[in-house]
Each structure stands twice: as structure tokens, then as C-alpha cells.
């Protein structure tokens, strides 16, 4: 019983981090109406950025967050500006341009293999960081400290993004563009700049997720693929475009992955995740909870 409680707690914590990895995906979809297939690769880039900042300066991983997140914001901002924007301009009247999906797939392949080329295939991890292997002991229950910190960061990030969209002028412009791009641009909003900002925020969210992962996760060039597919599943489970949905979807996946192995071999839990995903996709493509875009 005590193990089950421990698994549930760890599942919720890891699930919140999964939700954080998918947060950027949902924000980008909400505004650009495309699924960013390169999102996992952006997360991977973020992990390398965090890794180099932490190993080069020796600072605490969570201080590195304040350097990595802005770097990732501008990386995403200019990635969208230089590579994806021209396609939006060329296919102005297509509501959900499939070409953009294809281009982000191309980006995925370039980023992953460029990293492989430069840094090699070896697994890296940050050996001597304050959080590595730290455990919190409550009675007989052990809770991993880096996961707890990650989960807290995930909730704060989700709230921060929500408040940014609600309370700031730029945030309102982003929401307006998300609802109706034509009308928004008639109101004097530069929709392409809003796309850049949305893509930047999504990438920065991936960067924050990356920082929460590096204290306890291995870093290698194809690490993004794992989170890419998981991210797709999470956002569809929770409802594409919804921030709350991404967090809830992440927690569901986290729970299945951590509680599932109590009852079956852990590889089968992976098959169950895909099965659940397809089921939701067929029966209720708007997501398990039917949450519409909530920001």
C-alpha cells in the first residue's frame, strides 16, 4: 500500500514535468494552429544549453533557469521568424497549413542530427549538482527532490504563462490573434510578430522543462523524440490548445507510467498509453475533459 502511495505521488510529480514539456506545444498550437513536430528537439536543445551553463559555471540548476529560458525564447523567436514565417506568408488562406507541420519535421531532423554531429551520441548527465539523488523522507514514503522542484516549477510556469496572456497587452494581442488572425491584424496587430512571440514563449517553456529535467535525466541527441511523442499524446488527451489540459494530460501519463508497473511489465504501460491516446482521438478528439482553449 505504501508503495502504491509513493508511486502515485511520484507519478503526479513526473506527470507535472511531462505537462511542462507539453506546455509549449499547446501554446504554439493555440496561436499558430499547427502542431510543432520539432518541439521535442527544442526541449533537447534546451537540455544541452542548460547542461553547458551548469557545467561551465557550476551554478545551481535552478539559477541556470534564468539564463536558459531567455536564450530559448530568442532561439524560438528567430526560428519562427526565419524558417516558419515565410510559409505562413505563402499559404495565407490555409487555415491549418500541413506544410508547416512538414517544415517542423525537417527542423526536428536537422536539430537532432546536428547535435549528434557536434556533441556525439554519448549520454551526458550533470554529476555533482545539489539535487542529484536527493530524497525527501516523509514517514516511509520517499519523494525525489528534483522531481518535486520540477513539479513546482511546472505549476508556476503554467500560471505565469496564463497570467501573461490574461493581464499584459502583448498577451491580449496573442489571444486576439489566436481567436481570429484576420480581425486581429485589422486591429493593427502584426500577426507574424505575434507568431514569433508565441513560438518564443513555447520554446522558452520547453527550455524551462529542460532545466527541470537535467538534474536527474540523461542528455543525448535523440532525447527529444521521447518527449515529442509523449507531448503529442498529452496535448491531445488534455485538449489541444488548453494549458490546464496539458498539465492534466501530463499527470495522467505520469500516473500510468509510475503506477502501471505495479500490475504489469513496464513495457506494456507504453502500449496502454498509445491505446488510450488512440481511443481519445477517435471518441473525443477535443480531449478527455473537453477543455477548450482556456487562455
Amino acid at each position: 500500500m505504501i508503495y502504491l502511495i509513493e508511486d502515485i505521488i511520484n507519478g503526479i510529480l513526473m506527470g507535472s514535468i511531462y505537462g511542462l514539456t507539453a506546455l509549449g506545444l499547446t501554446v504554439i498550437f493555440g496561436v499558430l494552429k499547427v502542431i510543432n513536430f520539432a518541439h521535442g528537439s527544442l526541449l533537447m536543445v534546451g537540455m544541452y544549453v542548460a547542461y553547458w551553463i551548469i557545467t561551465a559555471t557550476g551554478i545551481h540548476p535552478y539559477i541556470a533557469l534564468f539564463i536558459a529560458a531567455p536564450i530559448m525564447f530568442f532561439f524560438g523567436y528567430y526560428l519562427q521568424d526565419i524558417i516558419i514565417k515565410p510559409i505562413f506568408k505563402a499559404e495565407k488562406n490555409v487555415r491549418e497549413p500541413i506544410t508547416v507541420i512538414i517544415v517542423t519535421t525537417g527542423l526536428w531532423y536537422i536539430l537532432d542530427n546536428l547535435t549528434l554531429l557536434i556533441f556525439g551520441p554519448q549520454y551526458r548527465s550533470i554529476q555533482d549538482n545539489a539535487l542529484k539523488g536527493a530524497m525527501l523522507e516523509i514517514g516511509e514514503i520517499f519523494i525525489s527532490v528534483p522531481k518535486l522542484c520540477g513539479a513546482i516549477t511546472a505549476v508556476i510556469t503554467a500560471l505565469a504563462i496564463y497570467l501573461f496572456f490574461q493581464k499584459t497587452k502583448t498577451g491580449r494581442a496573442v489571444r486576439a490573434t489566436s481567436i481570429d488572425r484576420e480581425t486581429a491584424s485589422l486591429m493593427g496587430i502584426n500577426q507574424y510578430k505575434i507568431y514569433n512571440i508565441a513560438f518564443g514563449i513555447g520554446t522558452a517553456a520547453a527550455g524551462i522543462a529542460a532545466v527541470t529535467l537535467v538534474p536527474f535525466y540523461n542528455i543525448f541527441p535523440t532525447v527529444g523524440v521521447l518527449f515529442d511523442i509523449k507531448g503529442f499524446i498529452i496535448v491531445v488527451l488534455g485538449g489541444l490548445g488548453s494549458i490546464l489540459g496539458a498539465m492534466l494530460g501530463g499527470i495522467i501519463i505520469g500516473l500510468i507510467e509510475s503506477v502501471g508497473p505495479q500490475f504489469m511489465s513496464s513495457t506494456w504501460t507504453e502500449a496502454i498509453v498509445y491505446g488510450l491516446f488512440l481511443l481519445v482521438l477517435f471518441i473525443k478528439p477535443s480531449g478527455l475533459f473537453g477543455i477548450k482553449q482556456d487562455w
Partner: protein
């Protein structure tokens, strides 16, 4: 000379070259590269029926390659059934699976369809990797299946040299190209095209878009599985990570998108351009520049999408037509 005559001569010349290549190219390495080139051109042409003509983006076609490869291999290793028969059996299993996948997914919009096919593909790969037996059938899970190269001969679909494989895949490719050519000029082809461009308008005209797409998916999965058996017999080793992999699904889609989706020549042009890049960079740079070909693939894909969204077949066929027209003008004078 009329244009049609020139086209026919060019086609015959092309076929003649293709059939006589093994007489000149004796190097096993280059024959191997050519065989894989045809193999990918074949897969892409089959993919194109759904991904090109029907206008959706399937990203899980390696499932059908895997089904074809595993069905014929298990049947021949455990029951002594000729891989040729297993090939047909695998194709029918793939067809049924294709219909099962298509029924709920084909109504979905762009991105959802792509995600659903990825999930199907990955879900089935995970299962194959973790199952050792289905009843009496030995799948061998994560270890893959090795085919002992003992009984060569046509009945066993196993040959000592590479030349027979070359001719088999070449003929398969010619047949599948002929088939897509005929489909593209049939009622089904027009229905698919209309449904791909403007689904609502097509439906308003009384076209059953869903039925046309379902038919395309069934044919496509059937054809793809045939190539799976060929791959198993050619490499004599199949593994869930090779025949069921996401990378294979993506490579098929990449070749089609770069060559030109929805055209008969597109897959051939795509395979002709990309396969040599992939093979040669693996041979010459594989040890110190791993993944170089995938960077090139990605970059070419982005450039093509930016400047030639209908693929490279469009500018190439325009150039080809201009040359022919000049020739005709000259001979007329």
C-alpha cells in the same frame, strides 16, 4: 516527331537502361544501393496513393512494411510456406489493418490524422518488441528474426547474388508505377484528388470522399506490405526497430514530399535524389560525421517546402517539356 512519341521513346530508353544496368554494374555495393533505391521508390509510390492523392499525411506506413516482413518470415520459417505465398498473406493482413486504421482516422483533419498514424505505428512497434509469441507463432520480441540463408532458389525467394533481387524489385516498381498511373487517371484518382484539394466542395458534388480515401488506404497498405516481404528476403534479418521504425515511416514521407506528392513521377525523382545522398554519406562520412544525410534531408525538405511546395517534379517536368518543345520546333523547321 510528336510529343507523345518522344515521351514513349524516353520511357523505353529508361526501361532499357534499368534492365541492363546489372550487366555493367558488377559491384555488389552499387547494386545494393540501387536495389534499396528501387525499394524506397516502391514504398513511396505506395504511400503516395494516400499521402499524395488523398491529401492527408500518413506517418506510420512502416507498420505495413513490418506486417509484410513478419508474416512471410514467420510462415516460411515455422511452416515451410514459400515467402511468395506469405507475401500475399501479409499483404491481406496489412490491408485489413489499413482499413481498421483508416475507418476512424480518415475523417480527421490534417494534424490529427498524422498524429493518429504515428500512434498506431509506434503502438504496434512497442507491442511487437515485447511479445515473444502469439499463440504458436514465434515473433521473438526485441531480438528480431534472422532468416538462415540455406535454401536458395526461386521458390524460397532467396538468392546467392544480388541480380535476382534487383530484377524482382525493379519489376515490382514498374508494376506499382503502372498501377498508380492508371489510378491517377481513373474515377478513383479524380475523387481522391478532389477530396484532397477541397473536401467540402467534393462532398457537395456527391463524391464519397471517405470511401475513396478508404479504398486508397486499403490499396496502399496492401502494396506496402509486399515490399516488406521483399525487404525481409533481401536483408535476411528483420527487427522491430528496423521494419516497424518511425524513421522508416518518416523517410518514406520525406522522399514523397521532396519529389512531389500526388504525382506519379515524384517518388521516383525523390528516391533518385535522396537515396544516393543517404547511402554515399553513410559510406564515406558514416564514421566521423554520423547523421549527416539526415541533416541534408531536413534542409532539402525545408527548402523544397519554401520554394517548391508541390515538390521537385514540378520544375523538372517544366524543364523537360521545354526541351521537348524546342526539339519539336527544330524538327518542324
Amino acid at each position: 516527331m510528336t510529343k507523345e512519341k518522344i515521351n514513349k521513346t524516353a520511357l523505353i530508353l529508361f526501361l532499357f537502361i534499368a534492365f541492363t544496368i546489372p550487366l555493367f554494374v558488377r559491384s555488389a555495393t552499387y547494386l545494393h544501393i540501387l536495389i534499396l533505391l528501387y525499394f524506397y521508390a516502391y514504398l513511396t509510390t505506395s504511400w503516395n496513393l494516400v499521402g499524395g492523392f488523398a491529401g492527408v499525411l500518413p506517418l506510420g506506413h512502416s507498420v505495413f512494411v513490418g506486417i509484410g516482413a513478419y508474416t512471410s518470415t514467420i510462415l516460411s520459417l515455422q511452416y515451410g510456406i514459400s515467402p511468395w505465398i506469405g507475401m500475399i498473406a501479409g499483404a491481406f493482413i496489412a490491408l485489413i489493418l489499413g482499413v481498421i486504421i483508416a475507418l476512424p482516422t480518415l475523417k480527421m483533419r490534417g494534424a490529427y490524422f498524422a498524429l493518429a498514424t504515428i500512434a498506431f505505428g509506434e503502438g504496434i512497434r512497442v507491442m511487437v518488441e515485447n511479445i515473444n509469441n502469439i499463440g504458436p507463432l514465434n515473433i521473438n520480441g526485441p531480438r528480431g528474426i534472422q532468416i538462415p540463408p540455406t535454401n536458395t532458389g526461386f521458390f524460397n525467394f532467396m538468392f546467392a547474388g544480388k541480380e535476382p533481387y534487383y530484377y524482382i524489385i525493379l519489376i515490382m516498381l514498374i508494376l506499382v508505377l503502372t498501377l498508380t498511373f492508371l489510378i491517377s487517371r481513373s474515377k478513383l484518382g479524380y475523387y481522391l484528388n478532389a477530396g484532397g484539394e477541397e473536401p467540402e466542395a467534393a462532398m457537395a458534388l456527391g463524391i464519397n470522399v471517405a470511401k475513396a480515401r478508404l479504398t486508397a488506404m486499403a490499396i496502399s497498405s496492401f502494396l506496402t506490405a509486399l515490399a516488406g516481404t521483399f525487404y525481409a528476403q533481401f536483408t535476411l534479418y528483420i527487427h522491430p526497430k528496423s521494419v516497424f521504425s518511425l524513421d522508416l515511416s518518416f523517410e518514406i514521407a520525406f522522399i514523397a514530399l521532396i519529389g512531389g506528392r500526388g504525382s506519379v513521377a515524384g517518388p521516383i525523382i525523390g528516391a533518385l535524389l535522396l537515396r544516393p545522398v543517404s547511402d554515399l554519406s553513410r559510406i564515406y562520412f558514416g564514421s566521423h560525421l554520423p547523421g549527416l544525410h539526415l541533416i541534408i534531408f531536413g534542409a532539402v525538405l525545408i527548402l523544397v517546402m519554401l520554394y517548391q511546395p508541390r515538390g521537385l517534379q514540378e520544375p523538372l517536368s517544366r524543364i523537360y517539356n521545354r526541351i521537348i518543345e524546342k526539339k519539336i520546333l527544330k524538327t518542324d523547321k
